[in-house]
Subunit: 346 residues, 2 copies
DNA sequence: TTGAAAGCGGTACCAG
DNA sequence: CTGGTACCGCTTTCAA
């Protein structure tokens, strides 16, 4: 059934009339081979449809060309991670590498079985024992987003500039008339949740604004979010006029919770979220969000990992570094205007 | 940098004072080894923390233990595919296999580089050249959903029982008072799009019901969907009272399109979709949907592939087969009741 | 029952 | 520059 044995170096060697080693050298470009020989070998290789056997390569001791990809266990923002995954695969392919998925619960040997050169770990969660295991393991790890406190860092991290993006979002809200913003913040111990929160708080300080943080559980039960939001809006001591939601799943509940309190997103309440998602363009009203550039983000993770791997060859391994991916603000109707009642305009 | 060399068979052999082959036989249970020897070897192996090197193991044998997973290129129902992917990974792990992702555009050799034993191809699209390439290739392929017309079948398919599920959904709608159902059907040449449509039409025939099909492009531009839905509802010759949407992305536009026409989902219009998604629980109103059991579906794909692979060893390869995954109807508010005006009740 | 040896497909080192 | 060869870790005959 399996197609007649794949083409090997030996097949090419036989055809050309040389030895495996010469063919190997010609193909990898490692040894010293004459130009003419090299071209000839490559031609035959192409003709025969030669594909190096990754397994065999690794066995001899070098790279496997395998990137292990780990996604968060309970993922709410599916489309974000899906896009990021595609980005990882795309870029891996461009580097001649392949991507293997790591199961949710990584037991020690489990990871070893993948025989990966390195790991891309998206959104490491301090409460995830597997994440911890991988970060303390022997394989080089690049994290998507920095590790949260309590977790050892990887060899590099690709990060989104939440601080700048949240500030841009808040500026946008302020410009649209928001004076009393609130953040619905999921209680996850991942870096982005933490940094979004601190960015929010910082912006409020810097802009002499009273901002409220509404912590919610994660994953968030819809009713709980709605109830919390409704209550927040009814507590009229300092009426909230803008709500930023911590994830795309939550934001819909923010909208409906607001409706329960008689408020309408995009009209008498500004609503936005820090994670964009396809569906936010389709809601009524469409919801303003930060586009995390997931695909690009995934690609950068692979690039960072390559850098780490290549530096690993040198005597001095490269020091820890971060690569910052810019974020784009997508303005939509949910923050188009703020019609306020008889409020003081400060 | 890489941790001290892993324990090998030789290490155990040295420790015990026998040869690799004996240790190998003891561990795999293949050859004939005395009970005492076997126990001793296993004890030492455990003590040393031996982990078989799958790469080497597989280099020798023919299987690689790698499953290549292909997701649709332009995927709207992210959470469905994400879940299915997790299911595939989960089940693969239970079988001691690993999952590699196939890049969007599979060039011939590209796939070979993965050295997979077989392929899981989700929702093959007749217009996708890569899908065609894989199905005509040499690797055994299991498809998630059957191949649409125009594509050669794989070795097996895991299928959802759309026909029964759509019928169940339609019965539900009818019970809630729907008399004039419509289907918003994305124009994709994938099997499920086709079979949902035919199931809809069949149900209508069987139940003496006039059903309309509203074809829309895929991926669907939001405005187009909304406009089409609004127009459909305004054309009052035979007023539509229930709309079934072909995907989770589209259904939100159906709801907002209906609102443009002055109709409200769950009140004077029933709305449902054939692909469930997290967010449909969070919308206002929550939307009735068919739960495709994505995770289970993914798992079954791997099981089917294993069956195919194992049968491949025998003289007679197993004939093509299908495995049917049951679907569950999730009733939500969008189909809770239908308040009609002065319509005739048939 | 156990040992010796031949690969699986490549890489890498050392002669020639 | 190219050939020869040992070896990566394991499986699998074939002898002993």
């Amino acid at each position: 059934m399996h197609d007649h044995r794949a083409v090997t170096l030996q097949d090419i060697a036989d055809r050309v009339g040389v030895t495996r080693s010469t063919v190997s050298n010609a193909i990898t470009g490692n040894g010293r081979v004459s130009e003419s020989m090299k071209e000839h070998v490559l031609a035959v290789a192409r003709e025969l449809g030669y594909q190096p056997n990754t397994l065999a390569r690794r066995l001899r001791g070098s790279r496997t060309g395998i990137i292990a990809l780990r996604l968060p266990r309970h993922t709410s923002s599916m489309s974000y991670y899906m896009e990021a995954t595609f980005g990882v695969v795309e870029e891996a392919e461009r580097s001649g590498m392949v991507v293997s998925l790591i199961p949710a619960d990584v037991r020690p040997g489990n990871l070893q079985r993948l025989h990966a050169d390195g790991v891309v770990l998206l959104d490491p969660d301090a409460d995830d024992p597997s994440a911890h295991a991988m970060l303390t393991g022997t394989l080089p790890v690049v994290t998507g987003e920095p590790v949260p406190p309590g977790l050892p860092p990887g060899r590099a991290a690709v990060v989104s500039d939440h601080r700048a993006a949240v500030a841009e979002l808040m500026d946008h809200l302020a410009e649209r008339g928001a004076r009393r913003p609130a953040l619905v913040s999921p209680e996850v111990r991942s870096h982005w949740a933490i940094s979004v929160r601190s960015a929010f708080e910082r912006w409020c300080r810097d802009n002499d604004t009273v901002g409220q943080v509404l912590p919610i559980r994660h994953p968030a039960p819809p009713d709980e979010v709605r109830a919390a939001v409704a209550e927040l809006l009814r507590a009229s001591a300092s009426p909230v006029d803008a709500i930023v939601a911590g994830s795309d799943g939550v934001v819909l509940n923010v909208v409906t919770g607001a409706e329960q309190a008689g408020r309408r997103a995009g009209t008498d309440l500004l609503v936005a979220t820090v994670v964009d998602s396809d569906i936010l363009r389709f809601t009524n009203p469409p919801i303003t969000a930060l586009d995390l550039r997931a695909r690009e983000f995934g690609r950068r993770c692979v690039q960072a990992l390559r850098t780490v791997l290549e530096s690993g060859d040198a005597a001095e391994p490269a020091p820890y570094f971060q690569d910052v991916v810019p974020i784009a603000l997508c303005r939509r109707e949910s923050t188009s205007r703020l019609l306020r009642g008889c409020k003081h305009d400060h």
